[in-house]
């Protein structure tokens, strides 16, 4: 529903007077933005595709063209784009060209790194190249006005930074995929540290929303991964040293949480609790040994394995506890969308837990009826109970 339609409804309902209605319409007409999001997005998408085309052309590796010509054309293009960005700077509020040229320049910088690697046959890692690119374009990214440009820069920075940090303790990470958990643990912790850092700086605040988006994605992936592999008794063959970057990030994050001025003591406790449990989840051999499994109705033997000692019981309990702590924090801080997402995930995990425990039963008619009822029941409980739960979390501090 458009805002004008809504305005007309309010007028008909008597909520606003005709004079107010006219004033609002006049104000909106005067302050209407000259550019729209779609135009920006498509122009930037076009620039991004052109950049990818340049990268592809370089990747085609023209053997017949002398390297001096390749590099010369590349630097000439870079200079032309830089001049274009500077020329469009005064018109940045009224047009899209400043942003398009800016994205084009940043992409060409990335393509240039690829070209240099090709000309000199450099055997470096892709994540070091991304980190180098992010470093040299950092100042430029501060001039970006569009969310997409900042999001693009943040995305590549995070890829470069996370993989480079993990490679410090495990140089050939691409050949040691058993070290993947250390990447998945480091990602949300490092992004959260960067998120807190940007909230303290006015200059960097433009990156906050992109970092928060990636934090949520990375955290959900980290939790889901730990849950799946721990429940399955995997992740038993890895070294504590691989997790050192993640532990350093965890310490920085804990300091960031403790020093956060807007958090009350309850929020700090909830976040530190969730952080501690996530570290426990990933830490080798503290809570999980990969051997103890307890299948409620399955055929696996579980003699000698206590209910609370079993990996496939501890994993979902940890997941649910971490989600619950974070949901309390989100509800208590007034982050409604995050609260809704996390409580939805809690419900989803309960449903998965049911299928894990009674997977065989779900194949029968009665089992399917119970499963369907459970899904409806949990959805209904979530829908009816989330507002009350949110109110309760808000009152917790008092």
């Amino acid at each position: 529903m458009t805002s004008i339609t809504k305005l007309n409804q309010w007028l008909q309902a008597g909520l606003i007077t005709p004079a107010q209605h006219a004033n609002i319409l006049s104000f909106e007409a005067e302050h209407r933005q000259h550019s729209n999001g779609w135009l920006y997005s498509f122009m930037i998408l076009g620039a991004a595709i052109i950049g990818l085309g340049v990268i592809s052309l370089i990747a085609a590796n023209w053997a017949t063209i002398p390297e001096t010509v390749k590099l010369g054309v590349d630097f000439a293009l870079l200079t032309l784009l830089a001049l274009g960005v500077f020329w469009q700077y005064p018109k940045r509020h009224n047009g899209v060209w400043f942003e398009v040229l800016l994205v084009g320049f940043m992409l060409l910088c990335l393509a240039s790194i690829g070209l240099i690697a090709q000309v000199f046959h450099l055997g470096g890692k892709w994540y070091h190249a991304l980190l180098f690119w992010a470093a040299i374009t950092f100042l430029l990214s501060l001039f970006a006005r569009n969310l997409f440009t900042r999001f693009f820069w943040v995305t590549l920075l995070l890829q470069g930074l996370i993989w480079s940090l993990v490679a410090l303790t495990n140089p050939n990470i691409s050949e040691h995929w058993e070290a993947l958990p250390s990447v998945l643990l480091l990602a949300p912790l490092l992004i959260a540290v960067l998120y807190y850092a940007t909230t303290h700086s006015k200059l960097l605040r433009g990156f906050t929303s992109s970092l928060f988006f990636w934090f949520q994605i990375a955290a959900i992936i980290a939790l889901a991964f730990a849950d799946i592999v721990r429940s399955g008794g995997e992740m038993t063959d890895y070294q504590v040293a691989w997790f050192v970057p993640a532990y350093v990030a965890a310490v920085l994050l804990a300091v960031g949480i403790l020093l956060h001025k807007e958090y009350r003591w309850l929020n700090k406790l909830l976040l530190l609790g969730a952080l501690g449990l996530l570290l426990l989840y990933y830490h080798p051999d503290l809570l999980f040994n990969g051997q103890s499994r307890y299948s409620l109705f399955g055929s696996q033997a579980h003699a000698g394995v206590g209910f609370w000692q079993a990996d496939d019981i501890r994993a979902p309990l940890l997941t649910l506890t971490i989600l619950f702590l974070y949901a309390l924090h989100a509800g208590n801080s007034g982050h409604q969308r995050t609260f809704n997402l996390i409580t939805f995930l809690i419900g989803l995990r309960f449903v998965i837990l049911y299928f894990q425990a009674m997977g065989g039963l779900a194949a029968t008619g009665v089992g399917l009826i119970i499963s369907g009822s459970l899904i409806i029941g949990i959805t209904w409980l979530w829908y009816k109970g989330r507002d009350r739960l949110r109110e309760w979390t808000k009152r917790l501090q008092a």
Binding site: N61, F86, I113, I116, H121, L122, F132
Partner: protein, 163 residues
């Protein structure tokens, strides 16, 4: 400083950084001592990856990394040998720094970019142990690739004969 000045700096920094990178790599490649080392495909299935060749450089060292991990150096003159970081013999006049991982020594020269059209033919030659790498090695132990030789000839000459 106003925002326009900052924008100029923001635009010049990447161009300067990339130009410096080109200058340094070029200097490293051209100024060092020339060394020719044979290469071979270490795993035929993974030899060709996209538009570059991956190979194993034969440093002429009898014993490889073994269980050794981390920073290491290969001495090329006067006597060839592989040593842990900081343990190079004092009389070693030409060496390459790199690192040991999984029993293999690597020095960042294990990749050679090639045109896609000649990829298969070049892969075969390297697999048949006909490849050699021409390197420039500086006094700091950094190695840079100058050329790829096939049967003793620059690869571009060989490729010219394939057309």
């Amino acid at each position: 400083m106003n925002r326009r000045s900052w924008l100029i700096i923001a635009l010049v920094v990447p161009i300067l950084a990339l130009a410096s990178s080109v200058y340094l790599k070029n200097a490293q490649r051209n100024r060092g001592t020339e060394v020719i080392l044979p290469i071979s495909g270490f795993d035929p299935r993974d030899l060709l990856s996209g538009h570059y060749l991956i190979y194993r450089v034969d440093y002429g060292v009898a014993e490889g990394c073994g269980a050794q991990q981390g920073q290491a150096s290969v001495c090329l003159r006067p006597t060839r040998g592989l040593y842990p970081a900081g343990a190079l013999p004092e009389d070693c006049t030409l060496f390459i720094h790199g690192q040991c991982d999984g029993g293999v020594f690597s020095a960042g020269i294990e990749r050679f970019y090639i045109p896609e059209a000649y990829a298969y033919a070049l892969e075969q030659q390297v697999r048949d142990h006909k490849g050699e790498l021409v390197l420039g090695v500086d006094s700091q132990g950094n190695a840079a690739i100058r050329d790829l030789l096939l049967d003793g000839k620059p690869w571009k000459n060989v490729v010219g004969g394939m057309d």
